[in-house]
Subunit: 494 residues, 2 copies
């Protein structure tokens, strides 16, 4: 394969080493990236938006550099729905299939809604989006390997991973920095703690209770895979025994990712992942998000402004910009003030992108250093995907564009071209910031505005200020602001 890679000095913070490391792919120009996706038993919320936007940024930048990225983001759909226990097993068994709750119907409903939300946030679809329920065979095979190698044991139809045995030769805690001896029992178990030899052991396969709906046959029981298995099995299937990047939220670091490392290391004889990347959490007005705190809000709540904590609706692009305004490893506090600041910044940036299209080069321009700004954006991205630093540089560009517009400075043809490249590559390409509703009737609105601006111009020429004022007021009621500048009249949606 002939691929031209852009020169880069990409440093990635690796949770394994707790330091930034020079990024070196295993099979350049190919890159394998796996990110833990959503559990689709409810609507997507901010906690889904942050990893999606974060690893979208990573995906876009790596692709921009010229890498061929295979980006796998799973759908966790092996759920724990139960048939109504009050009805008794017999009655449930007699019921027609259609009358019973079907988990895959719930899963499909929320998967479609998740995709719609991600499209609204301009998050690119990953290369493969495997469902856990669609890879039970691969999970059973991996569990069989772990049993064969002696690192798992079966009890009453369930299979558990033997953490103590693993920790004898390897380090359980290599990712989280925990020590087995210090660890208490806080693994997310599904049931039957008492079956385990040690509280640290985790389930690879669980025998299903009679009321449990989702179940598959296995050599051990009719049951379902433990939660950690799916990512190990699907990562290995689509990216190989060892791949470049594994991402997810910091809340998944332990025990989920620690367990993934242990399982895969035994099954495949090597550590599965080179660079572990974790995005930090979102707080709401300084508090943790949670249903019990009354501050859990879905993305749809935010996009429509229907949650009581919200002063107004915030658009998907505002949320995307808000997330990118913080470095992915920093906590991010969600508040009306912060959102409104992000909204203002986004408008300024997009207005400058519009202005840029109308600028003309000037021969007697003084060099403004656009090349440095472009270079600084690369430097920021190379520094562990530092999007806030990119945005700071872009606002330096916004200042220059606005000065060029009001005539206080000029750009020569070469710098104007560099500025256009900066906006194309970094604003829409890498940050993925595009005008809201860009796919819509933009051309029609542009055309109508052109006509209205001409009519206003004519009214002013014949000194019919009643009409020109009325036009301005009508537009203001549609949230459209018109401005008369040196290069004619421009407009923008406020």
């Amino acid at each position: 394969m002939s691929v031209t890679l852009r020169q880069h000095k990409l440093q990635v913070y690796n949770t394994l080493s707790r330091s930034k490391e020079h990024f070196k792919p295993l099979n350049s120009p190919h890159i394998g990236m796996y990110v833990c996706g959503p559990t689709v038993y409810g609507d997507a919320h901010l906690g889904h938006a942050r990893p999606a936007v974060t690893f979208d940024l990573v995906f876009r930048y790596l692709a921009h550099l010229g890498f061929k990225v295979r980006y796998v983001r799973n759908i966790t759909d092996v759920g724990h729905l139960e048939n109504d226990a009050d009805e008794g097993e017999d009655k449930i068994a007699r019921k027609a299939r259609l009358e019973k709750l079907e988990p895959m119907e719930v899963v499909h409903h929320y998967t479609v809604r998740y995709h719609r939300n991600m499209d609204q946030l301009n998050v690119l679809r990953p290369s493969i989006e495997p469902h856990a329920s669609g890879h039970v065979i691969e999970q059973i095979e991996m569990i069989s390997t772990l049993l064969r190698k002696g690192y798992a044991y079966e009890v009453n139809g369930s299979v558990y991973f033997d953490v103590e045995r693993y920790n004898g030769k390897h380090h359980y805690g290599v990712l989280s920095g925990r020590k087995v001896e210090d660890l208490v029992s806080n693994t997310r178990e599904l049931a039957g703690q008492s079956e385990k030899r040690s509280s640290l052991d985790f389930a690879l396969w669980k025998k299903a209770e009679p009321s449990h709906i989702m179940r598959w046959p296995s050599p051990w029981s009719d049951g379902f895979p433990g939660w950690h298995m799916e990512c190990s099995a699907m990562g290995c299937k689509y990216l190989g025994d060892q791949f470049d990047i594994h991402g997810g939220g910091m809340d998944l670091l332990f025990p989920h990712h620690e367990a993934e490392i242990a399982q895969s290391t035994i099954a495949n004889g090597k550590a599965p992942v080179r660079y572990w990347m974790h995005n930090n959490m979102i707080t709401i007005n300084g508090q943790k998000m949670g249903k019990s705190l009354g501050n859990a809000m879905s993305l749809d709540d935010i996009f429509t402004g229907t949650h009581p904590l919200l002063e107004k609706a915030y658009s998907p692009m505002t949320i995307r910009f808000f997330i990118l305004m913080a470095h992915y490893r920093s906590t991010l506090d969600f508040s009306n003030e912060a959102l409104q600041a992000a909204e203002k910044g986004l408008r300024k940036l997009l207005a400058a992108a519009d202005t840029l299209k109308q600028l003309t080069p000037s021969e007697d321009a003084v060099i403004q250093g656009i090349e440095n700004i472009l270079q600084d954006c690369y430097t920021a991205m190379d520094d562990d995907f530092n999007s806030p630093m990119v945005i700071a540089n872009l606002f330096e560009a916004v200042r220059i564009i606005n000065s060029a517009k009001d005539g206080s400075l000029r750009l020569n043809a070469q710098e104007l071209k560099l500025m256009q490249q900066l906006f194309e590559d970094f604003v829409s390409g890498i940050l993925g910031i595009i005008p809201e509703g860009a796919a819509g009737d933009d051309k029609l609105v542009d055309g109508l505005m052109q006509t209205i601006i001409e009519l206003r111009q004519e009214a002013r020429q014949r000194k019919d200020y009643a009409t020109s004022d009325k036009i301005r007021d009508n537009l203001a009621s549609l949230n459209i602001e018109i401005k008369d500048g040196r290069e004619g009249t421009s407009w923008q949606v406020k």
Copy 2:
């Protein structure tokens, strides 16, 4: 469950009986419906649009009647991609996973594009969209049952269904009307014809050649399920051993659906489906569609007008309307003339829907028989989903709306309400016909048009015809037509 079902006399043409039958669900108010979905190794074309729109119509009408429909439409993703044979097995084995072709990456790419096309056509998402590759366990279980019951046999790691044995007790050909003795070998076999006892036997499981990429372990070999298995296994899993409706294109009737009946009848002890529904085929300028004929065009080709056979682009809603203008059991011939006629009809219908919003009731109105039109639409739908008859009735309503607009007739409040209900239930609800780009900036465009129309009015009042003509010309260049009528000036996108 408490559900109010609307009175109906729904007759469904059942391919099994070759006649229209009164529709009686097995578990009313629940209905189970399975439709064969796309093979996602290429872009969707007209042959995908017709069944999708046809069964979307069925889904929408059944839901409108008050039924709880579980609509399953599968994704066929078990493909037959092979690794490059020139490279030799050893070399392929040494290659990193990431450097190899990954069928699921191809599958995901085309699945996302298929969904986008279906959204454009306003086809509702089904309740569950299972992937064949995600249900290999279920398929292996069903094959094991068929082997255990003696209706299947294994040869060299592959398993075949024994059609002759089946035909001894049952009728292989019950759906297609074929007789086993007359049948020649035209089943879609994958390889190894010679392994079969009879040319009519079909593969349930195939052992994978070394170069075959998609493969799973099974009791017989590392291989993959035969094509007919997936629909039987997934239909049964999500809808039960016997369900109401199975749909698909007529090209799937034999051998695919015939094989489904045979497999499921043996595995579950009963015929799987009550009503088999098949949509007819689309021809292009009177010819069969096919790559070798140079007339295969994707939906994207049609939506953008890029295929040489197209005089212009046709919008998704035009294609939807065009499909609904024919009864689903009639052949449908695709031509520029027919498409342009559909486009014209669609515009007329949508313009009337807009006009309807502006109509006001009149006290001295003569009864226009709107109730009969509404009733005739139900009668048409009850007659095996006769959409062209519904459309004919809607055009009678369009005539009345346009007469009400130009003042040549009036509607009283009750009839105006019925007319609104007719459009809501049948145009947007059941036929799924909505304005193009309805999700976009409609409010903004409406507001801008309001301002422009006022400015034009003022120009005319001051006899400034140069300005009013210019406005009309500017709008015409944006494909907007303005019309001055009794109730003021209206506009529409042409």
